[in-house]
Symmetry: C2
Subunit: 197 residues, 2 copies
């Protein structure tokens, strides 16, 4: 999506170690008018799919998910992270490794809010190694829900998450895919995506 | 707000110890069309205020804040919880005690995203003892930002948070104020608020 790529070039900050900071408009301060344009683009890319719910994970995915759900006119369910083992049998549960925070989280979603009747669109801000997405796919599978697609704001195309998800045959629409970044020059190269606006 | 009170009566679950579960429509599954109506009501209640930013705290406040920000056409900044001491001087920092989780969190917001130029509307899902709100007010004060008002979905009117905030002269608009609950009968009594729809 050209608008998002342009914004990343303008306001994204490239740091050593392939770190891309987009906290001025995506995941600390959130540019809601931009999110609305992103939501419209996903609406176009997932047109015709019987999506009845948006699924995301706390915390930084929730803002984008809420605006996407408003565009689709459906509810959001967000999976919750917990450091403690949960013995509540009313939840589906999986584990997600966070490389950023060097922790393993238990991630739960209530059995009441994810069921075999659900056709979900998974939304998240970032895709790198794919650990968070694989956890959400686990939860959807446990629940017997259908995953109609996945929408990601920024994918790091040089990490394996995107390939892992696409190899499963799931429609994955990342609105910006970073192929490479240079922390010295600040240059960012995006993958071409001809089907996108 | 009658629509929210009706929904709490219908889908809220009263548990022993004055616990009110609204996780089917507010803070695990989020009813986005309902959030849009709530956002319109806050737009009416805070009409004329020069609000340029919505401030909230992760995680369950983010969804409502995003929809409210969309109605006001402004960005959201969410304060982040952290269990570790943060030595980054680029952040404002405060401490918030969580009675639910029996922990003290460090809560931070980047100095880049909260400044003396900001006129913020604080949004959160729940107000009980007021600890989270007092923390957000601390952060706004550290930043020199103006708090134009506070919007809360559900206030527990029998706890001290609401009185604490109102005694500071801040415009606090809770769309439903629970005066009392009965876990045996499930009955919920709301405070009358004549200025609200």
């Amino acid at each position: 999506m050209k608008m998002l790529e342009d914004r990343i070039r303008k306001d994204g900050i490239v740091r050593e170690g392939n770190v891309l900071k987009v906290d001025s408009f995506i995941n600390h301060q959130m540019d809601i008018p931009l999110f609305r344009e992103m939501a419209k683009e996903w609406k176009r890319l997932f047109a015709g799919k019987p999506i009845n719910k948006v699924l995301t994970i706390e915390a930084s995915g929730i803002g984008i998910a809420a605006i996407v759900a408003s565009e689709f006119n459906v509810p959001v369910v967000f999976a919750k992270k917990s450091m403690s083992i949960n013995l509540d049998y009313n939840n589906y549960e999986t584990k997600i490794q966070s490389f950023t925070h060097k922790k393993i989280y238990n991630v739960i979603v209530s059995k009441k809010f994810l069921t075999p009747e659900d056709h979900v669109l998974i939304i998240d801000d970032f895709l790198a190694n794919g650990c968070a997405l694989m956890g959400l796919l686990d939860l959807a599978q446990e629940a017997g829900a259908t995953v109609e697609g996945i929408g990601i704001a920024v994918e790091k195309g040089f990490q394996q998450g995107g390939e892992l998800i696409r190899s499963k045959g799931i429609q994955l629409e990342s609105l910006a895919i970073v192929e490479s970044m240079n922390s010295e020059t600040g240059e960012i190269v995006f993958r071409e995506q001809p089907q996108q606006n």
